[in-house]
Symmetry: C2
Subunit: 102 residues, 2 copies
């Protein structure tokens, strides 16, 4: 298990990358699931109906954009939404996205 | 001049398409310029440093996603941000994007 996953610092996060990361139905499903948990979720536990490699790709896209934090925990990787960082950088954006009915 | 540009109705707008449309530096520049005008702007007047065909492509992407309205006016096309629609569908999203420093 790689213990050194890279995450952008708050001041390295860019709006274009965040919007691109969110502009995908699978990644939005992941973000909505994470929004319901303060302690994080093993993303393998979210029902997505996609292959493990595709899931890994989507998780990486969210992590590299600065939308989520991923930390190893035992044999799992726990993902957490970077709610504080996103709310400081782009106040309202995350709530607007999460409130979307469609 | 095509007088019948298609725009999605409010209930046809989808969050993935809006986020995709916004996830581009040129399109963000256009949206920021439009955010400063209630009456709309001829997008040809926004300095973008890109070809006319590329500009047309970006404008179309924004229009088809439901982010902007484009109406012919004489020999120009005037674009307006669909602020009300976006604020009803995704409260906070547009303000969050417009407040982005990077």
């Amino acid at each position: 298990m790689d213990n050194s996953l890279e995450h952008p610092d708050r001041d390295q996060i860019r709006i274009e990358a965040v919007l691109h990361a969110l502009a995908d139905p699978v990644r939005l499903t992941i973000v909505r699931a994470l929004a319901g948990s303060d302690t994080g979720i093993a993303c393998g536990a979210i029902e997505l109906g996609i292959s493990k490699s595709t899931r890994t790709h989507h998780i990486r896209t969210l992590r590299e954009a600065g939308v989520i934090t991923v930390r190893p925990e035992g044999t799992s990787r726990i993902s957490t939404l970077r709610r504080d960082d996103l709310n400081v950088l782009y106040p309202g954006l995350l709530d607007g996205v999460l409130s979307a009915q469609r």
